[in-house]
Amino acid sequence: MNMERMRTKFIIAVTQRLAAAEDTAAKIELIEELSENLFSRWKDLAAGGAEENEAYARALDDLGDVDELLAYLDSLGPEGELPKSPDSTVRDFTSDILHGVEDIVKETVSQTKDAMDQAAVIVRNLADKIKEKYPDGFKGKIVVHMDRDEEQNPEEEPDRAAPGPEEKGWSFTVGYNRDRGGFFCGNPAASRRVTDTVFSAEELGSADIQLVNGDVKIMLDDDPNADVHISGQTDKLDVRISDGGVLSIRQGNTASSSFFFLRGLASADVELTLPKRCWETLKISTVNGDIDIADGLEARELLLETGSGDIGLRKASCTDVKLKSGSGDISFRRASCTKVKLQSGSGDMDCGGTVEELEAQTASGDLSVAGEFGKINAVTSSGDIKAEGSVREMRGASVSGDVSVKSQVLPETLELSSKSGDCEAAFPDGEGFTLQFSAVTGDLESAFPLAGPVGARSGEAIYLDGGGRLFRMSTVSGDLSLRCVDSMQ
């Protein structure tokens, strides 16, 4: 039997069971530690005479309750830090709450049928009671206060104006109105509904599109003063413009029509044409659908997220970009950005262009980047990481995949690690560096004549004068290699 194959089998099994957790450094360390323990258990069982598959099943059973681990990972911050104290969180947008509420409802509704039925009963009862009491319509106001302010009873002061900026808390409206097609939840005081499909973009600075079922396509009109065009199934969309100049597009303007979108019974694609100018924030999310952006987008902040669709983007110049896909692929070519963050569950990701800071996380997808990068930080569980072009700083970590970087300039820092994969770095000759390496069962191969314990399993080796550059490469069962490439100069 092949020991490495079995070790990898445990890594994959543990990775799969933790798929629900965000991919962080803490998660990868957890996978490494626990899969190694299970593998040790398997070896003991097999040595004790258990049949290979039976030993595998028994060892895996020793993992226990995965929910405990997920809860632990969940308690950590996004970068795997310990949780921050609760009072350090500051939020200031009403829409954050609304979207938060929306997300919770979507999650609850989609997760279990029981919860869905219960929610339906509660909503129906509430609807009947409200309809009974207010046959011509109803509008209530919910004021959320922070810092334990006095609680406000909405029924006592129905005409109370929304809190001004000097007051803490938010106000938004929920209600039932036949003219609006049933239940609604929103902040109509701060936004107005748009029914035209062509309107002026003059007052707009940002766009926020959130769909459940449907593709989103953004097209750009070369004229910076052009109007906004919305096409696709516009009759199923709720289009609004807020006082802050945000164009928001949602599927289903009421809870009752959202019901069909949430269950996959309705779908609506959105095609939006925006004038080509620098947008403040462009935020698009769809649960089931692709996101495609035309060439040449300019935005300060670009946030694209899809559950199962692909994301495609070319020639965008942005300060801050976050692209996230659950099972789809992400492709971002000819980027010109300050910060790019890519995240996928099982999809592959590729990124090309000029990026000062690239952060990429994927569970089982591959990451391939090519271009000019200031800093790359890439983490994957079972995928490969491949970087080419000019890379000044790179950190790449994989559990079972290969990690490689081929840079036309000598990087300032380099940190490559894998557990069962190979790590390879290629860069031009000429300047010195210090290499800290560790390969438990693999070999270190270097095109640069190194001084130090090269034949050993681990240690510190120096090329030329050491150069003040520290490179770190480590693998457990893979090989390490350093190669030489021609300099760009």
Partner: protein, 111 residues
């Protein structure tokens, strides 16, 4: 058996701290020692063990480090801190007192 399992679960931290009193160990090794000491009657699931270690580490009772441990393995070793030793001694004392109380109470009921 379920009563004793519940009782034991309440002492997970003490059990793990005790295992580390005389040297650093990695997770699976500790679990194996516990199983040997209890004649195979008790052991932790990996998930429970891992979250317990993280809890103890967060509380400053243990520290951990990666050890290169051939062939083919990198393992996380756990090490007890002075604070951890103090806590272990306190917990042991507490248990002895509880045990004495229980012995007295249960013995008197049986009479």
């Amino acid at each position: 058996m379920s009563i004793s399992a519940d009782t034991l679960r309440g002492h997970t931290d003490t059990i793990l701290l005790t295992q580390l009193l005389h040297g650093d160990h990695y997770g699976y090794e500790i679990n194996k020692r516990i199983q040997t000491q209890t004649g195979g009657k008790y052991g932790f699931k990996e998930a429970t063990l891992y979250t317990a270690f993280k809890r103890l580490e967060n509380a400053g009772l243990i520290t951990s480090y990666w050890g290169e441990d051939g062939p083919g393995a990198r393992r996380r070793y756990y090490s007890i801190t002075d604070e951890g030793r103090r806590r272990q001694a306190e917990n042991c004392q507490e248990w002895l007192e509880t045990k004495a109380l229980l012995d007295a109470l249960i013995a008197s009921e049986e009479e």
